[in-house]
């Protein structure tokens, strides 16, 4: 073996290790979306999943306390409180050309997601995931960009969670867990209704739902405080 060849091998090895590190940290480097033809579809989704920018015009009005602008791709976040939050994230992902699956939430109001801008043809619903919803979510990570998983009050132990978290990171799929606990989740988002706005007059009705959101965790993008 010539010296050049060996040097080349070494360079390749270094490059390979760099990729590995990048993939593990989940922050940079080519995730699943970073390669091939899908690159041009979702450039902005490469490493960060945008949190919804809820415009007042859509009827959903975020009144945020601390608003993270993005959630890293390939992370697991536990959501609690108002259901508008996962729906708005589904809407944001599908509107940007990604795919989303909603597992174990038979009562989800998809029409609200449409009103937030979701593309229904990129959403799949698995209302009854059977005895093991985590397994179904793990299978869906292969092709989905966002999986919303309703646990129905279950708690996923850390041992089980670790394998799924690794899979999520490897596949670049964000898992949002609702209605249960996920031990060792890297982010926790909580949303609650802070108020309703009604149109005045005799034909009054609800015209806006104001949300307040709180986030804590490691894998959030730039977090900034917004006056509420």
């Amino acid at each position: 073996m010539s010296l050049d060849q060996r040097r080349l091998d070494r360079a390749e090895q270094v490059e390979h290790l760099r990729h590995k590190i990048a993939a593990i940290s989940g922050k940079v480097g080519p995730g699943r979306r970073g390669e091939g033809s899908s690159n041009d579809v979702l450039p902005e989704l490469e490493s960060l999943l945008p949190l919804p920018e809820l415009s007042p015009a859509s009827g959903w009005y975020p009144q945020t306390e601390r608003l993270p602008t993005a959630l890293s791709r390939g992370t697991v976040a536990v959501l609690s409180g108002a259901r508008s939050l996962p729906l708005s994230m589904v809407a944001a992902v599908t509107a940007a050309g990604g795919h989303a699956a909603i597992v174990g939430q038979p009562d989800v109001g998809l029409l609200a997601a449409v009103e937030m801008g979701a593309d229904l043809s990129r959403i799949a619903v698995i209302p009854e995931p059977g005895a093991d919803p985590v397994e179904v979510a793990a299978v869906l990570m292969d092709g989905m960009d966002l999986v919303v998983l309703g646990l129905g009050g279950r708690t996923v132990p850390a041992t089980r969670a670790r394998a799924v978290v690794a899979r999520a990171r490897q596949k670049g799929c964000t898992l949002l867990v609702a209605g249960g606990d996920w031990q060792g989740a890297s982010a926790r988002l909580e949303a609650r209704v802070s108020g309703y706005e009604m149109t005045c007059g005799s034909g009054g009705r609800i015209s806006r739902v104001r949300l307040a959101m709180r986030a804590r965790g490691r894998s959030l993008g730039s977090v900034h405080a917004v006056g509420g």
Partner: protein
């Protein structure tokens, strides 16, 4: 000489029997079937009352006042005869229907199976009787002779066809329309007037004389009279077998082995599908384990499965079966027999695939992940939403199983007056609740579309509370023409449970009850 004997099953007065069955009458009631104001068939009880073929309607009714008169309908005859055909097919396959009411079939196999021709005939009479019809059976060497034998209810001994026929009247030549050309009655009449009174005398004439004097149909009749070889019964072919079956040796207990099996089985299936020029849109995967357990699942697809897609589905399905989370649900033994059965096929011309790409807007990887979940949970488990027409938030989304054509329940482009404006509730429910006024009496929606009293409190398990605000009711004026629709108004209202900020809900009033339809959160 090898003689394939023929059995004929003749159901008497079939048009009358079918008409009675269609009208829900007893088989013993007098029925006459009319064509062009003439009786063409009547039941035995009508015949006993003096009704005959060829009578006018009025005359027939005069002879038998309680006569049920039906018009001739070949489609009805054929439809009702299908039961008889099926009953006979269960016992002896490949029966040929000469006309509704008359079946012929080769008797050799049945005679061997049931022991004798007599026993086979008895079994067939029983089977047809179980299907609700009376019949007579005749057996002879030749097909036409068997039909005449059935009319006489006789079994003609081998080689005695001509003897049996010779005693029959010459007019019998024209009685069976399925064996006679249109001009046969004239021929029978002519032969009668020439002094030929029975079929035996006709058979004694030389073939050359008959052919030179009476024409082609007379030659056919002459062959019949002499019991010369004619065609045998030609029953319907069973549909070609498209199943692909594999006996797994060694038995499959691992997923990688299942993948190989799926690939080769899919290849075999698609060769047979291509051979018959069809595509498969519904595929049943069937597996039998060494302990005799049977596993079955049907896959549906809006477009025909390709070979790769079939192989994938077999692999996922076997993966799903072999690696079920719950060990109690897993098969207790490895899989020994694997069968792919195309449940629904479409002909190649009927396929109209879109020019570019799959009909869904999903990427390949997303679609494959969802199909895998279908393998784990069943094809109905993965649902794809599509916007639909409607007024309530639940009606406006139709969920269809992945792979089926996403057809909305109603057209969303119609105006739908009374549709609720944005925003929609994010949680959809359908729980009965009670809406009470200040005194604790239930609030209704009146016929004019107003609350009967001002709502003040919501009572429901876990959701009790005072109302701080309400809006509506907005009546829904739909399906008033539908007799199935229950009485009472349908209306929707929004309420806000007291609190800071409280909980906003969408209520629906229907069938004189309130239902919690959605929560805004």
């Amino acid at each position: 000489m090898s003689v394939s004997r023929v059995l004929a099953i003749w159901c008497m007065d079939w048009p009358a029997v079918a008409a009675a069955a269609a009208a829900g009458l007893l088989p013993t009631s007098p029925v006459a079937v009319m064509l062009a104001n003439r009786v063409i068939a009547c039941s035995a009880s009508a015949r006993a009352a003096g009704v005959r073929r060829g009578l006018r309607r009025r005359e027939a009714q005069a002879r038998c006042p309680e006569l049920h008169v039906a018009t001739a309908d070949p489609a009805r005859d054929a439809r009702h005869f299908e039961n008889v055909t099926a009953a006979v097919d269960d016992l002896v396959p490949r029966a040929e229907v000469l006309r509704p009411g008359l079946l012929v079939l080769p008797v050799r196999g049945a005679a061997r199976y049931f022991g004798s021709e007599q026993a086979a005939a008895e079994r067939l009479v029983d089977a047809v009787a179980a299907a609700g019809t009376e019949c007579q059976v005749g057996i002879a060497d030749r097909l036409p002779t068997a039909v005449f034998a059935a009319r006489a209810g006789r079994i003609v001994e081998p080689g005695k066809d001509a003897v049996f026929l010779s005693a029959l009247s010459i007019r019998q030549l024209a009685t069976e329309p399925s064996l006679a050309a249109p001009g046969r009655e004239d021929l029978a009449d002519l032969l009668w007037r020439m002094g030929i009174r029975n079929i035996g005398q006709f058979a004694a004439l030389s073939r050359a004389d008959v052919a030179s004097r009476f024409g082609a149909d007379a030659v056919a009749a002459h062959r019949l009279a002499r019991a010369e070889p004619s065609r045998g019964p030609s029953g319907r072919e069973p549909p070609p077998e498209l199943d692909a079956v594999m006996d797994c040796d060694p038995p499959i207990d691992r997923v990688d082995a299942a993948a190989f099996a799926g690939r080769s089985l899919a290849c075999e299936l698609h060769r047979s599908l291509e051979g018959s020029g069809v595509g498969c849109t519904r595929l049943a995967i069937h597996a039998v384990t060494a302990n005799g357990e049977e596993l079955n699942r049907v896959w549906r697809c809006a477009e025909p499965l390709t070979e790769d897609a079939t192989a994938d589905r077999v692999r996922w399905q076997l993966d799903g079966w072999l690696n079920r989370r719950n060990p109690n649900d897993r098969p207790t033994a490895p899989i020994t027999v694997l069968r792919l059965h195309p449940v629904e096929v479409v002909s190649a011309e009927a396929l109209q695939l879109p020019l570019w790409g799959p009909p869904v807007k999903m990427t390949d990887s997303a679609y494959r992940a969802l199909v895998r979940v279908q393998g784990l949970l069943g094809p109905e488990a993965v649902q794809v939403p599509v916007l639909s027409g409607g007024r309530g938030p639940a009606e406006r989304i139709t969920l269809t199983p992945l792979g089926d054509e996403p057809v909305p329940w109603a057209d969303p482009s119609q105006p739908w007056p009374g549709q609720l404006p944005e925003p929609s509730p994010t949680v959809l429910l359908d729980d009965p609740v009670e809406v009470l006024d200040g005194e604790g009496n239930p609030v209704r929606v009146t016929g004019r579309g107003l609350f009967s009293a001002e709502p003040a409190r919501l009572a429901a398990p876990g959701r009790d509370g005072r109302l701080s605000w309400w809006a509506g009711p907005w009546p829904v004026d739909e399906r008033w023409w539908d007799p199935d629709r229950k009485a009472g108004r349908t209306a929707r209202a929004q309420v806000l449970l007291d609190g800071d900020p409280g909980q906003a809900m969408l209520l629906c009033y229907r069938q004189r009850r309130w239902y919690l339809e959605g929560i805004y959160e």
